[in-house]
């Protein structure tokens, strides 16, 4: 049996099943300990499963189980990925049992949730698996009935031989089918004959969610387990110096207080082994409340870090990185970025002769945009369960990238990968945050140290002040117009702490003769990480606002202006390596123009802003309809047009887009994290503003481009252009352009924003701030 990307084999019995060349009967009792959680399988499940490819198991009485390979964090892969298998398998979706798969990269692929990759990466392997199993079942029936396999049809979990009138369930042939070698290159179904893919199916875990069943990492419980929390420094740039635990240790329920080191000096970290605080102070006790109380009794001395060297082997190979000492403050970070922006930067792409174009320009338009750190604030804070002994390790919890974290975990606890079992729970949000696994490593080291099963819990404060934020960004956009207001040059120079956001080969690269993109970076000890549509979530705000302003200066409709540029990029593209398809980009703009009634008189009552963006292989465009409500800007309605290729589960996909729109409005209006002397100034949800029900739009109208293209990403692409569309609608609503994110959070953008000063624009200080009204407080 062949599967892609066999990184390493895992457990001996799984190995033997691979070596057997075909399917293998595995009794439930043997399988059970490898299942992510027995509760998902539930009582009353059959005890005999025949495995047909790694994704499908069938019982003699025709229960069809499909394993979801990828961690679920709300993108609904528990439903959509098995739907793909069911389609090719010709299973009856209503009767399919879905289960979270074990961590097993040999059988189940990369198992990485992130980069809007789940459906895109699994589309082919899952179709192949479903189709192969269908062929194996058909072949088994052909042998049994002694008829040609070609005369057998499969439908809804049944096999039929019309000539002889014979029929049977998949279950009847599962045993025989499992012994047949997995065929390769089976012909897949035509898109037009799909009946599961493209139909809206409900979330398979819906009932468990609405009845409060234990699905999440934080819900995991094992008899005898303890609760641990980590006390980390109050500021970035600080570390543990010494502590006195005598009082804390005496608190009720407390069993252990100790410090430990996450990575030893010189440890070679993988790319996502972000370390924010390496010396961790751990409190272990009976209940979360006991531990929280004991933490208050700790007497701890912290001290500033020195410049610290880290060895990281990531996507760019092995690198020595110096994390600078210092206690950073938001105000000085903005000032530093502004200073650095004046210095030369790395040229990322250059087409034509931008210098001359700008020299000859009749008009130059220059605007600078900024954005602060953002905290992911997944609703479920970081946590992990670990039970590590000298012989083996079980770790259970929310994790987007088990395959990336396992090698590091193995090194840290000194066990080979085959002795480690990672179980993936449903995640209470991810947004990139759980691609980092420090909390899994910490839990494992704590369990190893105390020789007991333990659940590590981050309080919201711990979670929000740990870092791994969306970076801080700044970018200056310049456009050169000739005397006829033609765009003859385009220049973007972007920077950030600690990385810039520039995607040099994306639109409008390819559409302008003279083009220059540059980037620079400032190191920092504030740790950053992937945040829903990394980099794009800033670019789409800045670039799409700038294009709007440009269109206005040129006297053009903002959609028509973009379409003109895309026409140029299609017919006579400038430069090489343009990452986007001008056709698909234009198609979402055309679609949103039509669906939103862009030019219709009845929509004039709205202040409309448009933006579009390409990222993660997909295309998204939004029209945001803003009004003033109680004197405040409010997004009442949004039209979204998306091209992500074939949509697996349409209603669920719409939910995802609606969520991205709400998330985009929320973060563009309010999102931001600031620091004073290294300490985050927001440490809980009463200080960090997240969009609430009252601020959500009334309508988000979602349309998908139907082009039959293999699926591309959906979790991220709709998010970035919301920022730009909102900014453009704000201008229509208030008459003032917004350059600094967040647009309506005075404590951040007005205090720290530097862009207005750079561009000598009128500030937006007089803009009324939306009031935070208290909800119905119980």
């Amino acid at each position: 049996m062949e599967k892609q990307d066999a990184l390493h084999s895992r457990r001996s019995f799984l190995k033997s099943s691979l070596l057997s060349g075909g399917g293998l009967m595995i009794s439930f009792s043997a399988l059970a300990e490898f299942l992510p959680s027995k509760k998902l399988a539930g009582p009353g499940m059959p005890d005999q499963w025949f495995e047909l490819t790694g994704y499908i198991k069938i019982t003699p009485d025709n229960v069809i189980k499909i394993l979801n390979p990828n961690p679920e964090f709300g993108q609904n892969v528990m439903t959509s990925l098995p739907m793909i298998v069911a389609e090719e398998l010709e299973a009856d979706w209503k009767k399919v049992v879905v289960e979270m798969g074990p961590h097993d990269s040999v059988k189940l692929g990369s198992q990485f949730t992130g980069g809007s990759n789940s459906v895109r990466m699994y589309w082919k392997p899952l179709r192949d698996a479903g189709a192969a199993a269908r062929v194996m079942l058909t072949e088994a029936a052909a042998q049994t009935w002694n008829v040609p396999a070609a005369e057998i049809t499969a439908k809804s979990g049944m096999l039929y031989h019309e000539k002889s009138g014979k029929s049977g369930t998949y279950g009847e042939f599962a045993s025989k089918a499992a012994a047949i070698p997995v065929p390769k290159g089976v012909k897949l179904k035509e898109v037009k004959s799909f009946n599961v893919v493209g139909s809206s199916q409900k979330n398979v875990e819906g009932l468990k969610i609405v009845t409060g069943k234990p699905l999440f990492g934080l819900d995991y419980y094992k008899e005898g387990m303890k609760i641990a929390m980590i006390h980390h420094p109050p500021a970035f740039g600080m570390k543990l110096k010494s502590f006195d635990a005598s009082e804390a240790s005496k608190m009720p329920g407390i069993t252990d207080v100790f410090s430990l080191k996450l990575y030893e000096d010189g440890f070679e970290q993988a790319g996502f082994d972000t370390r924010t605080f390496n010396d961790i102070l751990v409190v272990v006790g009976k209940t979360t409340w006991d531990v929280m109380n004991a933490r208050k009794k700790l007497s701890v001395q912290w001290e500033p870090i020195a410049d610290t060297k880290e060895t990281i082997r990531g996507f760019r190979g092995k690198q020595e990185v110096v994390v600078p000492a210092g206690l950073e403050t938001t105000e000085s970070q903005y000032a530093k970025m502004q200073e650095r922006a004046k210095e030369p930067a790395t040229v990322l792409r250059k087409d034509g002769d931008p210098e001359t174009a700008f020299k000859n320009a009749a008009t130059i338009i220059e605007r600078t945009y900024t954005a602060p750190f953002l905290a992911h604030n997944t609703m479920e804070p970081m946590n992990f369960f670990a039970d590590v002994t000298d012989e083996k390790a079980l770790v259970v919890g929310p994790q987007q990238a088990p395959g990336w974290s396992e090698p590091t975990l193995a090194k840290l606890i000194g066990l080979p990968a085959e002795k480690i079992e990672i179980q993936m729970t449903r995640m209470g949000g991810g947004f990139g945050r759980r691609a980092y696994a420090h909390y899994m490593f910490e839990a494992a080291l704590i369990s190893k140290k105390i020789k007991a099963p333990v659940k590590l819990i981050y309080s919201r404060e711990d979670d929000m002040t740990y870092g791994i934020y969306r970076p801080m960004y700044i970018a200056t956009y310049r456009a050169a117009l000739d005397a006829n207001k033609n765009l003859i040059g385009f220049h973007v120079k972007g920077g950030g702490i600690p990385e810039h956001a520039i995607h040099a080969n994306r639109f409008p690269a390819g559409a302008v003769d003279n083009y220059l993109a540059e980037g620079w970076e400032l190191p920092s000890n504030i740790t950053i990480g992937a945040f829903r549509a990394p980099r794009s979530n800033f670019n789409a705000a800045a670039e799409q606002s700038f294009l709007d302003e440009l269109a206005e200066a040129m006297g053009k409709d903002p959609i028509d202006f973009r379409l003109e540029l895309l026409k140029r990029a299609k017919e006579n593209p400038v430069g090489k390596n343009n990452e986007y398809s001008a056709d698909r980009y234009a198609a979402v703009l055309e679609l949103v123009k039509e669906k939103s009634g862009w030019n219709k008189t009845e929509n004039k009552k709205y202040n409309r802003g448009v933006a579009a963006y390409f990222c993660h292989n997909s295309y998204a465009a939004h029209v945001v309809d803003m009004v003033k409500r109680d004197g405040q800007p409010y997004v009442e309605r949004v039209y979204s047009a998306i091209d992500c290729g074939i949509v697996i589960n349409p209603e669920s996909a719409k939910n995802m887009v609606m969520g991205a729109v709400v998330d985009g409005i929320g973060n563009s209006f309010y999102g931001g994290l600031t620091l004073k002397d290294g300490a985050p100034e927001q440490n809980n949800l009463n200080r960090y503003r997240i969009i609430r029900m009252r601020e959500a739009p009334q309508i988000v109208d979602v349309s998908f481009v139907e082009n039959g293209i293999d699926p591309t990403g959906l979790g991220e692409p709709p998010f970035p252009p919301v920022f730009g569309a909102v900014a453009n609608a704000v201008y229509k609503t208030t008459g003032k352009r917004v350059y600094n994110q967040p647009y309506f959070n005075s404590t951040i953008s007005e205090k720290f924003g530097v862009a207005e000063k750079n561009t000598k624009q009128q500030g937006d200080k007089k803009l009324p701030q939306p009031k935070i009204k208290k909800g119905r407080t119980p």
């Binding site: 969610i209 409060g212 979360t288 609703m379």
Partner: protein, 156 residues
């Protein structure tokens, strides 16, 4: 010993009277349907009913709940068939799902007090419940749906 009545069942727990109801539910009684999100009554993930009122269990001391009627998501209905739960499934509301038990518990009090809520009523009642995935529009839809189901049920 503190006596508790949760979902119509009697429990006696030996805990610090200051311990919030949330942690008694989650860590002592192994009822994890009620979620921890912030610990400061700002996100609503921990919402339960105390004598019929929606309260944030993360700031409700267990002593306050002693001998009172507590209902959690596990006890909202015997079989997950409360109109809100059915409506939530019908509208397929959840993304990650973490906040949804708190959302449903808040909505249940709203529906009891206002059987036919307007969007404004919903926005007001639900503004204390955060959803980081942004399912607010579907939550509104599901509450209206549940209100309709409740009305139809009442007619029968």
């Amino acid at each position: 010993m503190i006596s508790l009545k949760i979902n119509q069942k009697q429990y006696d727990v030996d805990v610090n009277p200051d311990m919030p109801l949330l942690w008694v539910l989650r860590d002592v009684l192994q009822m994890p349907g009620t979620k921890y999100g912030c610990g400061v009554a700002s996100c609503g993930a921990c919402t339960v009913h105390l004598n019929g009122d929606a309260v944030r269990s993360c700031v409700t001391k267990i002593s306050r709940a002693a001998n009172q009627e507590v209902v959690t998501i596990e006890g909202l209905s015997p079989n997950g068939d409360h109109p809100l739960q059915k409506a939530w499934l019908e509208a397929d509301v959840p993304q990650c799902g973490y906040c949804q038990s708190g959302q449903i518990m808040s909505a249940a009090v709203l529906l009891r007090e206002k059987p036919d809520p307007t969007d404004q009523d919903i926005d007001d009642a639900m503004n204390g419940n955060l959803c980081r995935c942004g399912t607010y529009l579907l939550i509104r839809k599901a509450i209206h749906l549940a209100a309709d189901m409740q009305k139809q049920g009442a007619k029968i």
